[in-house]
Symmetry: C2
Subunit: 164 residues, 2 copies
DNA sequence: TATTGTTATACTCTATAACTATA
DNA sequence: TATAGTTATAGAGTATAACAATA
């Protein structure tokens, strides 16, 4: 993600935006959006991605890349199809994403012994090392999210959304 | 959105994907993602967009376009900057989005009487008519979302996420 | 100097089709 | 025939810079 490159400048002043939204003279009405769960899910998701990308900018790992590394590490030898279905990523997009991670030396595609069409995915030593660092940063990101919601609401949201 | 054009063919078999995820022989472990609110927010948001786009495909209105039409209708005469800040859309992107809506005859940019730099935004008669239709379809979409979560959890989620 | 709106660039992501090689 | 993986394309969205007009 291109944003991962900007590290020092806080370009998206979300708090300022929130202030303006409340302080600007003619208060803007969200209309029916105020009653739409879909709208607020989108707003929170945008914040999550932006915050995640900034938090992991030093190691240049996007949310999608992180999820791929985590699932490969937890299921060594799985195929691309399995990975794609699990994470809801298109096969075509996953192929390019993995190509990128492979070029960075973070994972390998080995021939599957059981099925000649498949690749067995696994992290390299470098991949495992980077993932360890990524997990630390991602945990910090998640803590920030928990703090924004409060522990009780955070737990409640996690359990409710996981059921989806 | 490109997906808005496909109306008949149910290309993304989310239910089948869910079945595969649970039924495929080697059960895939989400690892640490299972404890990440950010991950599940993303998954729900993807479903929301896909479902919204399909539901409104007959009138070719994307989630972003819908939110823009709703807020203009509820705040006739507001400026592009106000609209951009309110919805968290980049000014640059909003300019093109509005250009598109204007070409479709759904809204107008009038010169602002107060500030020569600003445009005062308003819907045309066609815009108001299309918005009425869009609101009906969007309400159906939201009902489906409510049904997926259950009324209690839906209400709970709406109030929690709105606080963000 | 700062703000409003615009155009442009580069990259990510999604949806889709078409292709190969294997099963 | 169906599946696994690949490449390519089109469109949407995001991040950013630079510009003209106006304040």
């Amino acid at each position: 993600m291109s944003v991962a490159r900007r590290q020092s400048k806080p370009v998206i002043p979300l708090r300022k935006a929130a202030q303006l939204r409340q302080a600007s003279p003619p208060l803007i009405d969200l209309g029916v959006l105020n009653e739409r769960l879909g709208y607020f899910v989108r707003r929170v998701q945008v914040w999550v991605f932006q915050h995640f990308i900034r938090r992991l900018s030093s190691i240049d790992v996007s949310p999608a890349q992180f999820s791929v590394l985590v699932v490969i590490a937890a299921n060594t030898g799985l195929s691309q199809s399995q990975l794609a279905v699990t994470l809801g990523i298109e096969r075509a997009r996953l192929a390019r994403l993995l190509h990128h991670l492979e070029r960075r030396g973070l994972m390998q595609r080995l021939p599957s012994s059981a099925d000649g069409r498949r690749h067995a995915l696994r992290l390299t030593r470098d991949g495992r090392k980077l993932l360890a660092r990524a997990k630390t940063l991602a945990a910090q990101h998640e803590s920030a999210l928990k703090e924004k919601f409060g522990s009780d609401r955070y737990r409640l949201l996690l359990e409710a959304l996981r059921e989806f």
